[in-house]
Assembly symmetry: C2
Homo-oligomer: 318 residues x 2
């Protein structure tokens, strides 16, 4: 019997080849084996094996700016010929001069302005097409790679490993739900109906006799911080048993997941590898991990040290 268990462990471990053997990998495998062991005390029926993943900084990179913001900046440039008035209007004027820093100096209102302007005013299907074109052509400013090549290989393996063990995997991101859906199925194996995110309002209307959903310049829901468990409940309707994040924006989702009555698993990805990726945590304006790191220590959540735990970072690396 011990032999069988050991062999099952070895087999499971093989499904995570980009993870170095260490506490993080061991804790993942131990959890999965616990909840899938039929007849044992920790067994969780398949229908309840819900795992939720943050996206930016957890499944793909998020530096030097959230990729969706880089998308929005590209959109501003593409839309500029139709908007001569932007020449004298911030934050667009600075953006068009190439001064991103000055444009974003306006803080959240400037960002909301850029997002609303670039993400509304078209049908849902038109926006879908705009995202599809961008995601298959735009290149990251530092690495020169497609953004989908900056997905973390170890996390892809983890998604597959969980699904192979009967988990349903969801994205729960502060990013835009409709910015992610056009490509998450192909890239992560996560279908649109399992993507939760921030959203603007949409409106059903007839356009030349054809029904369309128009994207309005109005916030519907912000899926971040205390909004994450709300988004999880609204979309999924049951409490996850495993949650994966990388910042304080995920803290409440991890708290919600890991205060459930049965077995549960919470994990933070800690960006510690300035050579292969980026190193940042408590003082970063993007993906700040401060309170979450303290809570992880108190609650004994798993913390992935990217530098030590991952032998490969991006899918696009050899």
């Amino acid at each position: 019997l011990l032999g069988v268990a050991a062999s099952a462990t070895a087999q499971n471990a093989d499904q995570l080849p980009s993870w170095n053997d260490g506490k993080a990998k061991q804790s993942i495998v131990a959890f999965v084996e616990r909840v899938t062991a039929e007849g044992a005390a920790g067994f969780v029926p398949e229908a309840e094996r819900v795992a939720v993943f943050d996206n930016d900084g957890t499944l793909w990179g998020e530096q030097p700016l959230y990729f969706q913001l880089l998308f929005a900046l590209d959109r501003v440039k593409a839309m500029a010929p139709q908007h001569p008035e932007w020449k004298d209007k911030e934050p667009f004027a600075s953006l068009l001069k190439g001064d991103v820093k000055a444009a974003l100096a306006g803080g959240e209102p400037a960002i909301v302005d850029i997002i609303m302007t670039t993400h509304s005013g078209m049908t849902t299907e038109e926006f879908d097409q705009i995202v599809r074109t961008w995601i298959t052509t735009a290149k990251h400013p530092k690495t020169g790679r497609l953004y989908t090549q900056m997905v973390y290989q170890p996390m892809l393996e983890l998604l597959s490993y969980l699904r192979a063990n009967g988990f349903k995997t969801f994205i729960v991101s502060g990013g835009g739900i409709d910015f992610m859906r056009p490509w998450t199925e192909k890239v992560y194996g996560i279908p649109p109906e399992q993507v939760v995110g921030s959203s603007g309002k949409t409106k059903f209307e007839m356009r030349d006799g054809t029904p369309v959903l128009m994207r309005l310049p109005e916030i519907n829901f912000i899926d971040d911080k205390a909004g994450k468990p709300v988004g999880v409940h609204h979309h999924i309707g049951r409490r996850p048993i495993a949650a994966f994040g990388n910042s304080d924006g995920d803290l409440q989702m991890l708290q919600w997941t890991c205060s459930g009555p049965g077995p549960h698993f919470c994990l933070y990805v800690h960006h510690t590898d300035a050579d292969r990726e980026w190193a940042y945590d408590r003082d970063s304006s993007i993906g700040r991990l401060d309170k979450g790191l303290d809570e992880a220590g108190i609650m004994s959540w798993t913390v992935v040290d990217m530098k030590a735990d991952w032998n490969k970072v991006f899918t696009s690396e050899p």
Copy 2:
């Protein structure tokens, strides 16, 4: 080859034993065979086989009042001892005297008041438990049966038939999302994450050091009429290829589904059987089917004549 096709048709038809052979049943089977025929022009990959179902009047009864409203009325009675002030406050005073008609004379504001009062002020898990208790014990005022026994047998068969053919089945209801989720998996085989409905706002907070989601007395989303395609897009993120409803409240969802670029199927359940169920359409205040019936004629959507098309109505019948 013709023999094989005919035999496949016969086999599929057998999965709908409560449906009499007629145009409605034939149109369902023809659609399913079309989208599942690999290599043929109408083939739809499994991931895109999304079917959406209205609930009240489509999957279970809705007379003499929406069952969720009957739930709310039961809750008012249960909560009354803690609310002595309701003695003098409408619509509660009339309800507690047993005069439902007088209570509902206040129209929509009275109904919203009753729903908000009975559906908020507790955690999501407390509400879940309240619904579970009610759904397994409360009896319908006319039939004396459990409400889950007033589910339509032909529609259960249809759900199973679609799933057996690779469809993912969703509920898209004007009813409360959290009122349905506690029992839809067991009764319909539809898990919580595939239920779309109306909702109130919830708020994440710590209660005695434990995270909870509190239900607030505030509307979040009304999943009815033009809200249905919006709810479909928000939760599912792709356009369904099949939609099933019974009232004008479903019209926009059917329009959205049946204006898609590929094969699509729209069906209205028409309540025509006053003996076995209820007969109502254009003039009913509950489940009004007026514009929808006209549109179904114009668009050649399938209309089920309950009396003629179903040889069995409720699951609880012999």
